[in-house]
Symmetry: C2
Subunit: 411 residues, 2 copies
Amino acid sequence: MNETGNPLLKGNAVIGQSGGPTVVINQSLVGVVETLRGHGSVEKILGCHHGVRGIVNDQFIELQDVPQQRLDRVAQTPSAALGSSRDKPDEEYCQRIFEHFAKHNIRYFFYIGGNDSSDTCRIVNDLADTKGYELRCFHVPKTIDNDLMHNDHTPGYASAAKFVAQAFMGDDLDNRALPGIKINVIMGRHAGFLTAASVMARHNVNDGPHLIYVPEVAFRLDDFLKDVEDVYKRLGRCLIAVSEGIHREGADKPLGAELAEASSGKIDTDDHNNVQLSGTGALSDYFCQAIRDHMGAKTRVRADTFGYLQRSFAGCYSAVDAQEARMVGRKAAEAALMGNLDGSIAIQRVSDNPYRIEYQLIDLKSVAGKTRTLDRKFIIGGNDIAPTFKQYLQPLIGALPVVESLRIGAE
Amino acid sequence: MNETGNPLLKGNAVIGQSGGPTVVINQSLVGVVETLRGHGSVEKILGCHHGVRGIVNDQFIELQDVPQQRLDRVAQTPSAALGSSRDKPDEEYCQRIFEHFAKHNIRYFFYIGGNDSSDTCRIVNDLADTKGYELRCFHVPKTIDNDLMHNDHTPGYASAAKFVAQAFMGDDLDNRALPGIKINVIMGRHAGFLTAASVMARHNVNDGPHLIYVPEVAFRLDDFLKDVEDVYKRLGRCLIAVSEGIHREGADKPLGAELAEASSGKIDTDDHNNVQLSGTGALSDYFCQAIRDHMGAKTRVRADTFGYLQRSFAGCYSAVDAQEARMVGRKAAEAALMGNLDGSIAIQRVSDNPYRIEYQLIDLKSVAGKTRTLDRKFIIGGNDIAPTFKQYLQPLIGALPVVESLRIGAE
C-alpha cells in the first residue's frame, strides 16, 4: 500500500472469483458490488467470468445495475456465481490482463479466493506498480481450508466445518446403530482445520470421532492400525476422521497422491501443481483394505469421502460465516474507495466471549502463496484434537442440531 | 389380521429398530411409545437393543417413563436410538424370541424397518400364530430406498431425497464454476427412487444432473460414455447421478458388487445376502477411469459417493417426513390397542394438491420381503427421469434452498 495516488480515482472495477468454491463466496461478491455501486468514482462493475481467464478473454458481466433483491438471492447461493478458475497467471498472462485493464479503464480489482488466489492478486498488483498503472488491488479471503496467514479464520471455513460437524454427528449415531469401523476422509490439502472440525460432533464420553488424523502430523500406518484396534476393542466400534492431506514421514506428497501415482503411473494436477485428492475414493478404500487385513475380513469396515459436498452443499451454512463473507467484500470495497490502497482483508478475533472480530487491511505479500497450518496446541499426540479447538470453532458455526440418546449400556 | 382374540390384551410391548437407519426413524419409535403409554393394557414398553438380537439377548430398555421432552429430542435425533440390526431370524432364532416374549409377557411387538425387516416381522408373527400365542405384531415402515410395496412412499425417503437434492443443487453450481465431468453415486440397492431425487436440483435449462442412471434399466457402459461425451461437448460440463444398484444387462448382481468381487475375490454381504455397495469408492473410481480412458486423460473428471451421509446427516430432514414417520408409529400403536390386529402401516396418497395422505393397515405378507421399484413412467430412455417425478416428490420434501444465477453466457 502507498500514500500517494489519486484520491478520487475514476474508472471501472473488476471482480473475480477463484479457486475452490464455497457456500458463502457469493456473499463476498455481493458485498463488493453493493458497496461500490452508486459511488461516484466507479462507473462499471464488471464480474469476470472464470477468474483471470475472463479478463484476458473479455468475458465480463455488468453488475452495477443488478437489482439488490437478486443480489441478495445470489449471495445465498452456493459456489462461485461468476465461475471460478485455477489459472495461475505468469508474466505474459499478466501483460494481457493489463492490456484489458487499460482498454476497459479498470482501476479497481477485487479477487476473491484462497492463498493461490492471493498470490495471483499479488503478481497482478506488482505488475501494476512496475508499469505505473494506478490499480487498487484487493484480495478478498475465501477458503474452506482456513489456511490463510494472519487470519483467525477465513470466510467459507465455518460453513464447511458445520457440514463436517453435522456429518459426523449423524455418522457417529449411524455407527452406533450398526457398529463397525468407519473412516471419513475430509478435504484439506495442507491444513487440518476442516478435519479437526469433526471434533464438534463429540458431546458425551465415547462419542465419535474417536481418532482424528491431520496433515500436520506425519502419518504412520502401523500406529493408525493399532489406534483403531484399541478403540474397536474398547467400544466395539470406531469412527475416524482423516484428512485427505495426510502424508507419511518424509514423503514429499500426500499419501492420497502416492496411491494415485501407484495405481495409474501419473497424478492429476492443476496449474498450481496441486494434486487431485478429492473426487476419488482411493484413500478411503486403501484404509478399508488395510484395516481388514489387520483386523480380519469379517470386521465391518466402511469409508466415505466427503468430497465436494463439504464445500457446496446447498442449505448448510453458518450464519456467522455468511455475514463475515459479506463483510470482507464490503471492507475491501470501502478500502478501495478510501485512497490508493491495496491489500488483503484479514479477520482478527478480539474476544471469544462475547465473540467479536475486527477486519484489518494487511499486505498482499504477507498472505500470498503462504499456508497457515493448525496450531500444534490443538493437536493431541498423533491422533486427536484438543477440546480447546471446540472453543475456537463454536462461535463460528453456531448452534448444531439437537441429538439425544436413550443411554443404553456402555455405548 | 383376525377378528378373534382378547379385546383388552394385557401385557408388555417390545419395540425394535432394524436395517439401515434414517434421520427420522426415531420419530416412529417415539410415535409408538407416546401412544402406548398410559394405556391400561400395556404395562412395560421395552425397547430392544439392536433389533431382534436385543430380544434374544435380553437387552431391553424401559421406555414407558422417559419424559416426553426427552422423547421429543430423541425423535429429532438421526439414526436408530435403540441400535439396529441386520439379523434375519430363522426358525431357531424365532423360538428363542418367543421364549423371551413369554418370559416377559410380551403381547405387542413393533418392528420399525424396511422390507427385510417386515419379513422378519412376518416370520415372528407366523410363529406366534402357529404357537397360539396372541401377539399383536406390527411392521412400522422405514426405508430411504422407498421400495416398500403398497406405499406411496416410506418414512425416511423424503429426508434422504432432500439431502440428495441439496447435494446436487450445490454440486451442479460447483461443476459450473470449475467445469468438468462429475459423477455422484447414490444409495439404492434395487430401486432408483433416491437417485431420481437428484432431478429436484434442476430449476433452469442446462441445470444438472444431466444424466441419471437407475437400477431399473440395464446399464451399458458404451451408451453411458456416449451420453457423457454428448453432454460434455454441448455444455462443457456434465453432472451425472448413478445409483449404486445399477447392473449390466443379464448380470445377477450390481456392477458395484462385480467390481468388489473382481478386486478382492469376495464380496462383503450381510445376513440378508445384501452385498456391500456403500462405504466404498470402487464404483465411482471405475466410472472416472472409464471416462478418462474414453475422453482423454486431461479431462477433469471427479466422482463422489454420497455414502452414509445421505441417510444420517444431522440437520437435513423433511418436516413432512418427520411428521409422517411419527404418525406411522402412532397409527401402529393405535391399531394394536384396538383389537387382535397385526399388519404394516402403509402411506397412501389421496391428492397431490393439496398434498393429502391416508394411513392404512395392510397385511404383513403383502409387504414382507418384496421390493417396489421406480414406476417406468418416471424413467426416460436409459438415462433420465421425467419432470412428473418432481410433482411426486416435491410435497414430500418441501421447500429447497434459494439458488440464483447471474446468467452468464450459455452456462
